[in-house]
Symmetry: C2
Subunit: 393 residues, 2 copies
């Protein structure tokens, strides 16, 4: 119904496959590797409870009133200090806007930059939430192959030359869906390739803090070398996703445009939760908390990798995550992950088939596994069931 009245953009956009799968996986019998959910035992519940009571006492009515579009100053100030410390960025709160999760940041960036038909360079495969967000602005995607060490530089150069994209969207750390991380060399090569293009580079980084190894953090692509970079961050994976709080760091003129778009989108993000997070960050050492999450996920990732090594046939490949939340599995050539999904769901195990992460490929032989939202024994059992399913396709 109403089909004649709907916009062109919405007719072209399918409902998110992942969120449809999540509905199926509500069934408690199912072991789900499908979502991208943090392990709930990682939430600092007691600390957040304390902070919540403190802010009501400390700020009174203000935590319930309308607020400014750009976000709470003390929270923006915290982000400024953290990024100065981590990356030596030369920024002030004028370079920061708080968003209703990183997903809103993507929506606002689409609003601010994209005209119908504008080209956007993305990884192949890419985060499907980005594809969905930018489809709403009728962007055209140019997918560039992702290798084990980062973007395929030759393909990148070809795509830049042929398509002159206005935006590029990359997830250099523990990418979603593949779990891969761009090497330092690859980042330099990417920056060399794009630095003279008149384009904006968006680096989405929800997982960067979740590095399992003690290697040094690898700097962002073109860090502090251009004013055309947009950095996205989020509290979803390191504190709580339920508050829907993310942020954008960029040139102040970009922030200004995002602010105008945000006024029209939701006026401002939940101010109560901005105070909650700000108070939590004032009371607690975030790095210590992240350390705990990393240890938890590292064990869970190992459990999954060990089980895959034990149970998967040799012709099935998978990435070995050094951080983040996902492993990416490649079946034998010609096999369909969608078909595998139908078999697996009968055996009460779920995952996300690769299809929604590609722009045009269909019936691909790849799939995404999440390991952060199940304990080690459950992960082992789930991989066993999945291996059994693989043997039946």
């Amino acid at each position: 119904m109403f089909n004649n009245l709907l916009s062109a953009r919405i007719k072209k956009t399918p409902s998110s496959f992942i969120r449809e799968i999540l509905k199926v996986t509500q069934n408690p019998q199912i072991i789900s590797f499908a979502g991208g959910l943090p392990n709930p035992i990682s939430f600092p519940v007691e600390e957040l409870k304390t902070s919540t009571n403190e802010i009501i006492k400390k700020y009174g009515n203000k935590v319930f009133q309308y607020s400014t579009t750009q976000g709470l100053d003390i929270l923006r100030e915290y982000i400024v200090e953290r990024y100065k410390k981590l990356w030596n960025m030369d920024i002030t709160i004028e370079n920061v806007i708080i968003t209703t999760g990183s997903q809103q940041a993507l929506d606002l960036i689409g609003k601010v930059f994209l005209n119908k038909g504008d080209k956007v360079l993305v990884e192949k495969p890419s985060y499907l939430g980005l594809l969905q967000a930018f489809m709403m602005y009728e962007a055209e995607f140019v997918q560039t192959k992702l290798n084990d060490d980062g973007l395929d530089i030759e393909e990148l150069k070809d795509n830049l030359k042929t398509h002159h994209p206005k935006l590029a969207y990359l997830i250099p750390n523990f990418q979603n869906p593949t779990g891969l991380t761009y090497s330092s060399e690859n980042r330099k090569a990417v920056f060399e390739a794009i630095k003279d293009e008149d384009m904006i580079l968006i680096q989405d980084d929800p997982y960067g803090e979740l590095r399992f190894t003690n290697d040094e953090r690898i700097p962002y692509i073109g860090l502090n070398q251009t004013n055309k970079n947009i950095y996205l961050g989020s509290f979803s994976k390191i504190v709580t996703p339920g508050f829907r709080l993310g942020f954008v760091i960029a040139h102040k003129d970009i922030i200004k445009a995002l602010e105008t778009a945000k006024q029209a989108s939701d006026l401002h993000s939940n101010i109560f939760s901005q105070y909650q997070i700000a108070q939590y960050l004032q009371n607690n050492d975030l790095d210590k908390h992240i350390e705990k999450i990393k240890n938890l996920y590292k064990s869970q990732a190992s459990a999954m990798v060990d089980a895959m090594k034990e149970f998967f046939p040799n012709n099935v490949k998978f990435t070995i995550p050094k951080g983040g939340m996902f492993s990416w599995v490649t079946l034998e050539e010609g096999k369909s992950a969608l078909k595998l999904f139908d078999i697996a769901i009968q055996k009460n195990v779920a995952f996300v088939p690769g299809d929604p992460f590609y722009v045009s490929e269909k019936n691909v032989n790849t799939l995404r596994l999440n390991y952060t939202n199940a304990d080690e024994a459950t992960i082992k059992e789930g991989i066993k069931r999945l291996a059994k399913s693989i043997s039946e396709i």
Copy 2:
């Protein structure tokens, strides 16, 4: 900077005049009638604090985890029951989606229905947040004159015939910015005029609950007579705006499309605050709380009207609010509210000049006054200063 990269829509959209004014009025010396802020003394702080601690205890981790796009079931269920009771609506939770404030509802409706150049019928003057939201989808507005009893029916008919708008956006109760309410007869005439058009009617109703008189509530336009109505509601004016929680009631196919758009926009609204509000509504009698707010605002509205009667010259007209948050002032023909603003701000009193509520008129002689966010003595003093300013233009 970056002008060559920005989208057409953002280049055309000015930053919200009101939110710019709000920045000016941060100065505590200024008496501000500019915002649309609820009186903070109306927030049920203690009750919300109790509810907050209860939900953490009762639901644990769940209040911090990712959640579903359509919103918390118990909250949607509450809305269903309330609208069944109030309006005898035949609805289930499939007809309800929770949004990040009503502003997001407007954004999502724009996303779902509007192609560039689509016509939208709005009141003259109209809510500027709607104009801003739909400008992002490059809609064309058709403004229809608002009289004391509602829409001008002749102009409405002409506009329908000439423009065949796809959407109409109306605020039938205590309209923003004018404070006017459509009479029962006018609502019937509006429905007669539009009922055979292939269009969607959006009725935004953030203020409907705030009726100062004991008259019966007047039913929505075309209530329960068409599946093409979209009803918007909000917790901002009756509980707290800081949580950014509103909702849409509509045919389930419309809700489905809005859900897809919301997935791409922010995944879901803050789930912690959805639990907070749901628990608050379970613990407390909302109608009793609304009664308190109404008494408060009724006195404040009277204080403003009395002061305007006492201090304004006779050639200045103003609406007498029977509910809601605003009065609408019309200066002598030919006077400029923008010019008045410059004088008034020197005397430390602020308001919103009418200009941003119109699509094409400039330098209008109308202005919006809000009375909900100041006590009665302050209101009297502010109106005195404003009267002095009027005498100087």
